[in-house]
Amino acid sequence: MALNIHLLPSEHPSSSILFWIGLHSYELIVKGGFVSFVGFGNYVDALLSPEFQNSGSLTVIFICLAVGAEFVLGLGLALLLNKEFRGVNFLRAIIVMPLCMTPVSVGLMGKLLFESRDFGIVNYVLRFFGVAPRIWLQDPLWSLPVVALVDIWQWTPFMALVFLAGLHVLPMEPFESARVDGASRWQTLRYITMPMLRSLALTAFLIRVMDATKTFDILYVMTGGGPGNRTEVLSLHIYLTGFKWMHVGYATAMSFILLFSIILTSLALSRRAKI
């Protein structure tokens, strides 16, 4: 598959509008909008703003936590589901459920499980193990990892299904000769399975990185960006700037920067995946 940059403004009308609005000061608070040309001012402001930088690093942390865990757990789950045992079909069926579920519902569910100190089921279970209850979603340190955990719940099955499809089409011979040579399971996984799944793994990884960058629904429902702005990832920051504070030009400049970084990341990753 030849890979070219297809999202240059000249090729995508919507993104060129985006770029153009980003060059303006566009305030929706004034009726009809107040528009004046400010050149690259919005872009410079964004890159220098501590809020933007905070959101950027939160986005990166969120992606690393969520996609990293999904990758490892998804591979493990695929190896489990690739075996034949009683009940495996039931497991294969239920892991599709999180994948299809409405993200807003998943967010409400996560909020229900984690939010309250008094009646949340997670705190109840943790108290059993002697962990002090806390209001997870209002905790400056824990709120982002907890949202990532909910994302992991929903999307690990994606990784698992992709790996499972990959495992199904692998040839048998290398595994048989490895067994004859007395390779351990870990060696088989590390030196035979993984290299053969490499391209597939990188593609799945790339897709999840792109999707995780856009995560909005579960964060909007579970934390709304709080406490403070400790979970205000870029998509949420842009939404709040554009539609709550009505700085449309500035928000658009930020979304252009976001789009551009997604393209660069994907290009870098897909070069490695050789797709």
Partner: protein, 281 residues
Amino acid sequence: MHTHRRKLKLETVGIYGISLMVAVIVLFPIYWMVATSLKPRVLIFAENPVFVFKPTLDAYLYLFSGGENFGQYIINSAIIATGSASLSLILGCLAGYGIARFQFRGRNNIAFWILSQRMMPPIAIAIPLFILWGAVGLSDTLLGLIIAHTAFNVPFAVFSMGSYFQEIPADVDEQGMIDGLSRLGAFLRISFPLAAPGVIATSILLFILSWNEFLLGLVLAGMNARPATVATTVFLPTSARETMWGESSASGVLLMAPVLIFALLLRKYLIRGLTLGAVRG
């Protein structure tokens, strides 16, 4: 031999232990939300979780007859999802057929196209769309949301239908055309019926994509065209009160119920679409 057997037994125990854990992790949160939606209000706030209770439909009744007009939002969502799924499917079938049957410049970049569609963050498009929709009178209309969702979902439809049409040999169309059918006739009478399983899987996934969509609905819809995903957020905490747990859970259950039914009934057909782009069909 003895240790080997013990090792095997240990492995079996391990497999079942992990499987049980996976099943609990997947199913319990869903069960818990359903249970909360059926609990009397007092029990939701019980300090020790209550597992046995007499279910009540109070939360659901409130959604439909109490303070919120949730039925209308569900209908909105259904109209938007059906409309955009049909539109995307028509475009996707025609374009997918073209890609599967004809050689033309840029054909090979289609596979990248679906990835590029995944790259575009909806929030980036939401702002220009919001301004455009306001200018052409599409804001807060069902049609506006149908068009917006279609724009996002057409690449998936094209890619998915293209992969199904590719599996049908081109000979069958050519045979039909020798027998006097036009190209369009061959498509409608021969390839399209043969691709029926693909058409069904694709249209259900398109429906799910649109049904689940939140951000565009939040930005582009006001009171008139509000989809159910956006309507659930009224139960979130405000400065005046806490989260309405029973009602928010009930709305979450109503949202996910149709999707989960699809997922469980048609799993085999949907998995291919769900992993599309990563797994070469």
